[in-house]
């Protein structure tokens, strides 16, 4: 019964918070309206959400977000230096295959997004079975190190969060 009424508790919470941030003013009325939206929208869209991702460890999520933000800052500076000071002929771009241990589609989506948002790497394609991801690297001397870093730094943590 409760599962029918609130099929996606996390989605409900997110929608309510997003609504409060959109109106940019905290009041009881807005909280109620946001809460109603947060309850109604998941019920209406439930048929389109086949599975509910298993997410656990809120602290791990916070840790992951902080690590990604830090990496974005560091990588931004690195890529800016590459663009400004490295002649084009010295740029060694490479395709890197990253075989995945992750299986949940949500986790793979987050990983692909993370790879793209950290400058220097862009996720380009999945293998048709969804267990391997193709990454383009702007400049690297050692493609295998890039692969290992993605696997150790991001995938390991996502695996702890999503499984």
């Amino acid at each position: 019964m409760l599962k029918k009424l609130i099929p996606h508790p996390l989605l409900s919470l997110t929608l309510t918070v997003v609504w409060l941030m959109l109106v940019n003013k905290f009041s009881l009325g807005n909280l109620l309206l946001g809460g109603v939206l947060g309850l109604l929208i998941p019920v209406l869209t439930a048929p389109y959400w086949p599975g509910r991702p298993n997410v656990r460890g809120p602290f791990k999520m916070v840790e992951y977000v902080l690590i990604v933000i830090w990496d974005i800052i560091v990588a931004n500076v690195e890529v800016a230096l590459l663009i400004l000071f490295k002649p084009n002929r010295d740029l060694k771009s490479a395709w890197v295959t990253v075989p995945l241990d992750l299986r949940s589609p949500e986790a793979i989506t987050v990983l692909a997004g993370t790879i793209t948002m950290t400058p220097g790497t862009v996720s380009a394609m999945l293998s048709s079975c969804g267990t391997s991801i193709l990454v383009h690297c702007l400049h690297t001397d050692d493609p295998e190190a890039v692969r290992d870093e993605i696997k150790n730094r991001y995938e390991r943590r996502l695996k702890e969060i999503f499984q």
Partner: protein, 133 residues
Amino acid sequence: MIVDVIISICLVVGGIFGIVGSYGLIKLQDTMQRLHAPTKATTLGVGGVLVASMLYFLFKEDTYTFHELLISAFLFLTAPITAHFMAKTHIRMRELRGTLPETQRKHGWSLYDTPPEMLTDPPADEVKSLESR
């Protein structure tokens, strides 16, 4: 006073990364390399401006605003998807099967191979919801 300096620094840093990202679009040679430039502009470029905006409203106007957080959340949701589609289009038009590395799996890249029926071992509740349809 100090707040002014911090806000200015954020704006200048954001501007610098924005312009370096745009310059990268001109300077880099092929499509895949160019794709790396805008990811910079959308992260630190926009990020700097958003932090500056939050600080300004917090300390100068004495109101808090959350719109900046929402903007960055939406950017983080949408930017990888556009980049992904551009990369795929590029691969479709300009790359050949042989120029890409192997998948190191049984199946090839999704542009060339039809997917198998389902992902290997889907979560149990997903199977259930598929069966109940």
